[in-house]
């Protein structure tokens, strides 16, 4: 059983756990897989920009991201469940983002 099959099986399992009312077709599973790979690839490329801070830190972070991505392999179903249309959920993320933005600007003004 190849790595692809493992990922696919886990994606289907998590989807069946996640949304029972939604039929699991090949299209949805492959779309999930595409989104997964896109996510990981773009995050990896984005992490390369850490080299501007320190090259060694970049290597460490890329390794860390790879390991985390392989550990928690189907990230996309969870990510999709996080970004749902529930108002309380959205409100929570909005307030969290407000805090993060304010903190980031104070941090950045001191350190960048």
């Amino acid at each position: 059983m190849s790595f692809y099959d493992i990922i696919l099986k886990r994606i289907r399992k998590i989807q069946e756990k996640a949304e029972e009312e939604e039929p699991i077709t090949n299209v949805t599973a492959s779309a999930m897989l595409t989104a997964e790979l896109t996510l990981i690839a773009s995050v990896l490329v984005a992490v390369v920009m850490v080299r501007l801070i320190h090259p060694v830190l970049m290597i460490i972070m890329i390794a860390a991201v790879l390991i985390i991505a392989l550990m928690a392999m189907p990230i996309m179903p969870r990510l999709r469940r996080e970004q749902n249309d529930d108002l309380n959920n959205m409100m929570f993320y909005v307030v969290v983002a407000l805090g993060i933005i304010v903190a980031l600007f104070y941090w950045g003004n001191l350190n960048v």
């Binding site: 939604e22 299209v27 949805t28 779309a31 999930m32 595409t34 989104a35 896109t38 996510l39 690839a41 773009s42 995050v43 490329v45 984005a46 390369v48 920009m49 996309m76 990510l79 999709r80 970004q83 749902n84 249309d85 108002l87 959205m90 409100m91 993320y93 909005v94 307030v95 969290v96 983002a97 407000l98 933005i101 304010v102 980031l104 600007f105 104070y106 950045g108 003004n109 960048v112």
Partner: protein, 499 residues
Amino acid sequence: MNANALIAVMVILPIASALFLNLLHKKDRTIKILAIITAIVIPIIPLLTPYGSHFFGGYVPLAQNATLAQGLPSLITGTQLFQFHPGVMYVFTSAQQLMVFVLGLITFFAIFTFLNETKRPSGVYAFLMFMGTASVSAILLSDDIFNIFVFFEIAALAQVGIIVASGIKNNYETALKYILLGNIAGPLLLLGIVILLGVTGNVNVTDMIFTFKQGYVDPNSPVILMALALIAFGWLYASGLPPFHTIKSAVYSKALPHGAALLQAFSVFTLVAIGIIILRLFSYNSFTNIAIIGISVIAMILGITMAIVQTDYKRILGYLAVGELGYIGIGLGLGTAFGITAGLFQAVNEAIITSFLFIGFGTVLYKTRTSNTRKLGGMMYVNPKVALLVLLAGLAMAGVPPLNAFQSKLMLIQAAIQSGLPELGIIMILLSIVTFMTFMKAFYTIYMRPKPKELEILDNKIPRSTVISLVALLIICIILGLFPQIATNSLQTLAAGLV
């Protein structure tokens, strides 16, 4: 004093015609004629308006007011008091000309398709469209940051109204969510604005920059950082970047196709306008650009990956539109003149292309009354011409030459490489490939695959006006793709002024 009245007309005419349309209720024919005339006039005004600035009420700065300026003591003429803008000021340069023109054009196509797809145009829908257009053009033009806040609120209300008037299932829920979130973001944006007001003493952006430059206030004081963070938060809400990308895509998917085309133009131009204000005010703070780039990258990744896993094609388009906003943000965040030009050019292109896509896919909704890709299929045989147009729109969004997004994305990638961040270029290429893949998935499931048996296709033929709008938008895409300097020349001056 160069008080240029036509600049104010750009904002006043849509509002006036909107209120007038609301007055004559149930007179459909009159409303149609009037709305079409207004929609034709709105894009024409910016082309006729000479560049300059308009001072409401004629409150020009003392320096420009010859009658008051003479005989003033030197303690006034010597200080900054001589330069201050006492009234609300609208600035109109070539960049604003292009953007207001494109916004008016999209408004025209939206109104055009709306009037021909609906039997009874009377009601608040055209009113809301014109109000939104007026407020977004005011946001683009205004140099007074509180004026921007007021029109930000009006635009939010107009967007909520457009959702409510659409009559799609569950649109009231989405409208309520949007306006509740807006009631958190709006006051916080106002808080940031008034913190700036309290520190610098006025709400005019030019004067604020003057006070920063002259060192009357310390630009790095923590209070101004708070203002920067709060204004950035309001900017996220207005433009639909994360964490607001879910609600924004839901808003697009709950509006009628022409309404969605207009809504995404609103958010694109609001993003550009408030982003330019942020860059003008805070570009001395080197973290601002980094924050804008980071938020844009997150928006691209989240928007496009979420678009892949959707099943409602309007939601797919909504997430794709949010993801495409990230390109603009990266262009603005790069901070170089070339990068900002590329970002503004991408903004113009994306506003055109996404409305093209929304109106094109709207024909499917018009024929089948469903937007679920699982239930759809075989639309290619129903109307192959529209299918071809929609395919061309998807190619344009993916950035295929000779269409316009190719030029702007190429410029963005060049700018990213020039400013020493080739990774951003790689991410942009990767994500535009995935964008095209997502679009092709939706296109295949809707148009190419065999038609499901339970799908019944209504026999109301697509109005010719919709096809005309699609062809016109395609022509604009090709023109901008072949001669990008039409747009870039008029955007360069603004971009050069920002760095």
